[in-house]
């Protein structure tokens, strides 16, 4: 009963703490919080240079929820790791571009300056909560450590804050749990603890890299509910990295689709789900069976495999797997073409000089969920 009461106070306090206008917090609604511009990141390996990120541009609005979708190796994680300053250098090498966060180019900052931003203004949760947590340290202590690092508080106050955070993420018995170790937590609880840690310093941006991939569906649903609630209550900005289109449909308002180190399409959730313009996006959407549909038979699969990023193809990276590929696609890469307010696609099919755009008349096949 006591915990229950604590819980409510905490939320209120936390809400107040993040209310726009609080001195020292540069919060202005509907402004670009993070903008990544033409980012290039490579890794030098014994086998050569892997061009993991090849000119990525996207931005996240204050209070928005953006999802980056794509398959393994498409560069979605490397991009956000670079944003967080977590790309190991070497072997990593940032070849160019800008990461503007809250008006500041993060790539120009020293490691020391990054340390004062990371964890404080940007929090991150990872796919595997066990590797994100220190197994030799009590969970509450780990959260308190982050708080102490960034705020001028005593050890006791930081620990109090950790308990508050654990109750914010709906962990029962937070006071007891704070003194337990990660192995005493279940997978879902560990992910909650990770979220608590990421949010402990009230960051402006939460980066969630595959936050539910290692969890069971019912636990995944609980975590998604929690993230949704926290976002609504705290007006938090979430950058979600996921390969699960269902999770993205549930959590995100806008979407960036990446393929082979590049952004191929960006748009609102409905642009992407109902009016996808890039052949890769369309194929991706059609390749997942839906639980609410009864179809047995051929799934629309994408032939082949993603390209080798040691030697990325000259033109569009998707061309070898694309059934609409034209001559130009194998020679030059397409630049983003504007299709709607925030809807951009990098595909020659949509170029004004292409007379037969197969996706021109989108309404003809019923609009949403069709191809």
């Amino acid at each position: 009963m006591v915990e229950r009461m604590e819980h409510t106070t905490t939320n209120k306090e936390f809400n107040q703490a993040l209310t726009p206008g609080k001195p020292g917090k540069p919060v202005k609604p509907a402004e670009t919080l993070l903008s990544i511009e033409d980012l290039h990141v490579s890794f030098h390996t014994y086998a050569g240079e892997v061009r993991a990120v090849r000119g990525v541009t996207y931005s996240v609005e204050q209070g928005g929820s953006l999802a980056v979708v794509g398959e393994s190796g498409c560069g979605k994680t490397v991009t956000v790791q670079t944003v967080m300053g977590l790309t190991p250098i070497p072997p990593g090498h940032i070849k160019g571009g800008k990461v503007i966060f809250n008006g500041q180019d993060l790539l120009q900052l020293s490691e020391k300056q990054m340390q004062s931003i990371r964890g404080k203004h940007m929090g991150m949760i990872f796919q595997d909560p066990m590797t994100g947590l220190n197994p030799t340290m009590a969970v509450g202590r780990q959260i308190a450590e982050t708080v102490q690092r960034h705020q001028n508080v005593s050890r006791g106050e930081a620990m109090e804050r950790a308990v508050e955070m654990l109750s914010l993420v709906e962990i029962p018995n937070p006071r007891v749990r704070a003194n337990q170790y990660p192995h005493q937590f279940s997978g879902g609880m560990r992910q909650r603890a990770m979220i608590a840690m990421a949010l402990a310093c009230e960051p402006l941006l939460l980066i969630a890299d595959e936050p539910t991939t290692s969890l069971d569906v019912t636990i995944q649903s609980q975590i998604l509910d929690l993230l949704q609630n926290l976002q609504e209550r705290l007006g938090m900005t979430i950058l979600l990295i996921s390969h699960n289109l269902g999770v993205v449909a549930r959590l995100s308002k806008s979407i960036v689709v990446m393929y082979a180190g590049k952004v191929v399409e960006t748009g609102s959730s409905s642009d992407i789900f109902y009016n996808a313009a890039h052949p890769y996006t369309r194929a991706l959407l059609r390749s997942v069976p839906r639980m609410d549909r009864e179809i047995r038979g051929e799934l629309a699969s994408i032939p082949g495999t993603p390209p080798d990023l040691f030697q990325p193809p000259e033109g569009c990276a998707f061309a070898p797997r694309c059934k609409y590929a034209m001559k130009v696609c194998t020679k030059c890469d397409a630049q983003p073409i504007k299709l709607g307010d925030n809807h951009y696609v990098s595909c020659w099919l949509h170029h004004e000089a292409n007379p037969n755009n197969p996706f021109e008349n989108k309404s003809e096949n019923g609009g949403r969920n069709s191809d």
Binding site: E71, G188, Q222, S269, A283, V288, P289, G297, E298, R368
Partner: protein, 317 residues
């Protein structure tokens, strides 16, 4: 329906762990699989679905119960006597990185079951290997490569070719696609569907992805904490699930469509799956069930027919 190819009755698989504690991984499970049928087994981690698959494949010795495969009781047979059974029943594993010997070439991996069962020799053997590689969408040139030279999807194809090498009647596929990327998943599911239909294979598909299971299976069984709580034809299970756990599981599975997704009512389950070491008395789902009443906590429900072909283990029906 004709005689089922697989009949499992009251199967139990307990593991002894630590200080005389017993983990009841599979606890009194009964079901059948008809010839040419795909039975999907779904459930969350720790529900016993993998143990069930491995026990049916006789990689584990059952604690009690009965497994009849092709009119032959395989429950207590020794490994030596199971050779004939293994030729008819093969497995495909989840992790194509762990289930292929890194020191063997793809050709050797596929040839191993052929050699064990002495099915072909010399040029016939090579022909068979090439045929299998082609069948799963690889080239004969791939036979000399090692697993690390293949992508995840290609490795899973090698695993499938190995399972098909002995021309089995029945395949147990344990999460065959969950380690693969979305666009590759569809390729593998299409391959399995094609092979299943062309060869009239019977399947037990063990998976946690409800949408994939719905797509591929004729019938679906839902497991919770070592028990089958509901079993029904795939369409029926998804259109009108009966067990509260099945309902919650389905409502938790996100649908890749924002309009549908944001208008759905979800049944949020409190807490987590209890430990199978000391499962609660009565219905194992009772403590998380929104409809639980006193009887559920005292008495254990049994799987009984609620509608034709649709069995559920819940006092509500």
């Amino acid at each position: 329906m004709t005689e089922p190819v697989l009949l499992v009755e009251n199967l139990k698989k307990y593991f002894e762990i630590g200080k005389r504690q017993i983990l009841k991984a599979v606890d009194d499970v009964s079901f059948t699989v008809a010839r040419g049928e795909v039975l999907g087994i779904v459930g969350e981690s720790g529900c016993g679905k993998t143990t069930l698959g491995r026990t049916v494949a006789r990689l584990y010795k059952p604690t009690s119960g009965k497994i009849v495969f092709d009119s032959e009781d395989t429950t207590n047979k020794s490994d030596a006597k199971l050779l004939g059974f293994r030729k008819k029943l093969q497995m495909i594993f989840q992790d194509p990185y762990a289930s292929l010997d890194p020191r063997m070439t793809a050709g050797e991996i596929i040839a191993e079951p052929i050699d064990v069962h002495t099915l072909a020799r010399g040029s016939e053997r090579t022909e068979r290997i090439n045929y299998l590689l082609n069948l799963v969408g690889l080239n004969p040139e791939h036979a000399n490569r090692f697993p690390h030279e293949f992508s995840g999807g290609q490795r899973q194809r090698i695993g499938i070719a190995r399972a098909l090498a002995v021309d089995p009647e029945f395949i147990i596929a344990d999460e065959p696609i969950s380690s693969l990327d979305v666009s590759i998943q569809a390729q593998i599911v299409n391959l399995l569907t094609r092979l299943q239909e062309e060869r009239g294979l019977s399947f037990m598909l063990i998976a946690h992805d409800l949408s994939m299971v719905r797509h591929f299976s004729h019938r679906v069984a839902v497991m919770y904490l070592g028990k089958i709580v509901e079993i029904a034809p795939s369409g029926k299970m998804h259109a009108s699930p009966l067990h509260p756990y099945t309902k919650a599981l389905m409502s938790a599975n996100p649908i890749p469509d924002p309009v549908v997704e944001n208008s759905r009512t979800r049944i949020a389950l409190p807490g987590e799956v209890p430990s199978p070491i000391d499962p609660p008395p009565g219905c194992r789902f009772a403590e998380r069930c929104p409809h639980a009443h006193d009887r559920c906590r005292e008495e254990e429900p049994v799987l009984k027919e609620a509608e034709t072909g649709h069995r559920v283990s819940c006092f509500l029906y």
